[in-house]
Amino acid sequence: DVKVTQSSRYLVKRTGEKVFLECVQDMDHENMFWYRQDPGLGLRLIYFSYDVKMKEKGDIPEGYSVSREKKERFSLILESASTNQTSMYLCASSFRRGGQPQHFGDGTRLSIL
């Protein structure tokens, strides 16, 4: 069974802090994704990566960056956290071949005070 693990379920940070959200998958998936999930807005893609050290912007990349140094790990970075980045963050992974389903982690509930 695919396992996507996000390092924290809940995180509280202060405005202006640099925040790291970590995600690890154990299925040798090429693709990894970061979304934020907000009530009434659904899931919105922040960044994705299709290979080590490769990254592509999603629909809402502003204020975020990512890092993929190893195939199994994909990090989301908030360079200078702001209150409007308070949200649920979901990591997902999938095989590269088109049309493959994505497998999701439990999510990180991030609050920026």
Binding site: G40, G98, Q102, D106
Partner: protein, 111 residues
């Protein structure tokens, strides 16, 4: 432009009633569509994909290209079906596949 539309934020039915969660999409190519479900305090998980043409937990979804729809149906709702449901469209982006999600429909099944 919104690619996936789920017109209902909330759908409330009684146990045993039929359920239809609506999903319309906008895509010029050959679409690949999915339904994902998130039960309370659980992770988002795949419910079904159109290419499989299968029934999962009594749910089915048929792709209607003429109406650009992929509605999710179940003839008799159960209380355990209460959850948030997302319709998703697989898109080619920079040569790779990503998912575009609708805003979701919360299904509440009352006893």
């Amino acid at each position: 432009a919104q690619r996936v539309t789920q017109p209902e934020k909330l759908l409330s039915v009684f146990k045993g009633a039929p359920v239809e969660l609506k999903c319309n999409y906008s895509y010029s190519g050959s679409p690949e569509l999915f339904w994902y479900v998130q039960y309370s305090r659980q992770r988002l998980q795949l419910l079904l994909r159109h290419i499989s043409r299968e029934s999962i937990k009594g749910f089915t979804a048929d792709l209607n290209k003429g109406e650009t729809s992929f509605h999710l149906k179940k003839p008799f709702a159960q209380e355990e079906d209460s959850a948030m449901y997302y319709c998703a469209l697989s898109l080619g982006r920079s040569g790779y596949s990503t998912l575009t999600f609708g805003k979701g429909t919360m299904l509440l099944v009352s006893p």
